[in-house]
Every structure is written in C-alpha cells, then in structure tokens.
C-alpha cells in the first residue's frame, strides 16, 4: 500500500484486527483521542466487524481509515486477513481514504525503535493518553494468552502514524 502522505488529517479511525473482532481508536489530531475500545461481535463473521466499523465511521466521520497490514504475516489468523481486505473494500465503497500500516511502522512512529514489546508500546500510549491508563493490563507472562485489550493500544499507535512524518 502507499506511504502515508504528510497531508494533515483531521480525524482518523484505526483498526487492529484480533481474534473475533478488533481494537479501534479515533484520533482528531495528534493529541485528541476521541474514542477507543475493543469490539468483539457476537457472531464471528467478518461482516459483523465491518458493520461495527461502519457504525464508527458514521459516528466519527473520519477522513482516513487505517488498518493493520497483515498481508505478509503468516502468524495472523485468516479472519485478520479477511477483515483487512473487507475493510479496504468498505473504504472504497464509502469513498474513504484508506491505509494499511504495518505494526513496525507504528512502533517506529512512536519509539523510533522496533525492539519494543506490546506492553511497552501500550505503556507509552497510556503515558500520552492518561485516560487509557486504567485499561493497561499487567505485563504478560510467557504462558498467558494474548490480552485482548492490548489491541486498543495498538490501534492508537496505528492512528498516530497518520500524524507522523514517517510513512510505511
């Protein structure tokens, strides 16, 4: 996908696919976090996730939809791949600017360094946006399963790439 341009976006919706749903964040400018959370539709079909993305775009009227680029990742589930593809189609139909951004780009945009854990990323996001601090999970141990709500922190990181000069 294309590099993020240096265009000044007003409002951005970022989506980070997980298991059955996605983490999301809406930013209006670099410092104004409008909404955040994790959506896990009752039904696992991707169309339900798209329906929830539509609700978010109706509410927040973003100029740009960012989704995590999972195309080259073999570790991500088929659902994540499917959601990325469906989100791209949705954006085209809605005439919404769309970018698929790799997680490494989000890490670079925030840290300038790729060697940071999910938890460290979440901690930095919570530092920048204190309203997220109460949602910060404890550091994950090797035997713990993935913590779903980390996805919202990663969505914030994806959204921040729209306001960074560094692209994909």
């Amino acid at each position: 996908m294309n590099e993020l341009s240096s265009k000044m976006w007003r409002r951005v919706l970022a989506v980070r696919p997980i298991g059955r749903g996605f983490g999301f964040a809406v930013l209006e400018g670099r410092d104004n976090l409008l909404d955040w959370g994790v959506k896990e539709p009752k039904f696992p079909d991707v169309s339900h996730s798209i329906s929830q993305i539509r609700s978010l775009t109706d509410r927040y009227m973003p100029e740009l939809l960012i989704i995590e680029d999972v195309r080259t990742s073999q570790r991500r589930s088929p659902k994540a791949h499917d959601l990325t593809a469906q989100a791209a189609l949705f954006a085209v139909k809605e005439k919404l600017s769309f970018r698929a951004v790799k997680r490494r780009s989000a890490k670079q945009a925030i840290f300038g360094d790729l060697k940071v854990t999910q938890f460290e990323l979440a901690k930095e996001i919570a530092r920048r946006f204190p309203q997220l601090a109460s949602r910060l999970p404890p550091p994950r141990k090797a035997w713990d399963s993935q913590i779903t709500r980390l996805a919202m922190f990663e969505a914030v990181a994806l959204a921040l790439t729209a306001f960074s000069s560094k692209g994909d």
Partner: protein, 103 residues
C-alpha cells in the same frame, strides 16, 4: 468525509473522565442513561440546562462540547448578518444604533 468538527463530543469527554452513561445520567439529574445515550447518538440535543450541566461536570465549555453545532449556528448567523447588512446599505441612512453597529 467531513473535515468539520463533529456536532458534539459528549461521549469523548465522558469517556475521558471515566464516567459511565449511568453516572453521567445521575449527575445530569436524569432518571436513566437512555437520554445520555440519545444525546451521544445525536438523536436529541440536550436542553440549555443540561448543556450547562455538561459544562460543569466535564469542565469544558458548551461551545467546545457542541463544536460542530456551534460552527453551524455561527455560519448561519453570520450569513443572515451579511444579508441584513446588504439590505441596510441600500437604505438612505441607518435608523437605529443596532443598524449603525452592523454597518
């Protein structure tokens, strides 16, 4: 997609301070969270007293809370003022202090 402000930012500010819809409803003097939900879904605008209550609870001006609505009202009012100004310019001379101020 619009580059304008959103009509309102009630949900954003409420989440920012960590209040649930039920808690917000109580603070606003409402019986249930249903009205808060309607305000946040833009199905209904709160009345003036509730709008001021929002300002007190969230420490954000009504203008900022309803930024998009304010921008729209401002545009429409300024447009009407321009129309009035043009009409007044066609008159022989301004007749009232208000008309003179407008010109």
């Amino acid at each position: 997609m619009s580059k304008r402000k959103l009509p309102e930012y009630l949900r954003s500010y409420r989440k920012r301070v960590g209040l649930s819809q039920s808690e917000m409803a109580y603070l606003l003097g409402l019986n249930s969270a249903t009205s808060v939900s309607r305000f946040e879904r833009r199905e209904q605008l709160p009345d003036l007293r509730r709008a001021f209550a929002y300002q007190v609870i969230l420490s954000v001006s009504v203008e900022s809370l309803f930024a998009g609505v304010f921008e729209e009202v401002k545009r429409e009012t300024e447009r009407r003022a321009m129309v009035m100004a043009r009409r007044l310019l066609k008159k022989p001379k301004p007749t009232s202090p208000h008309e003179r101020a407008l010109l």
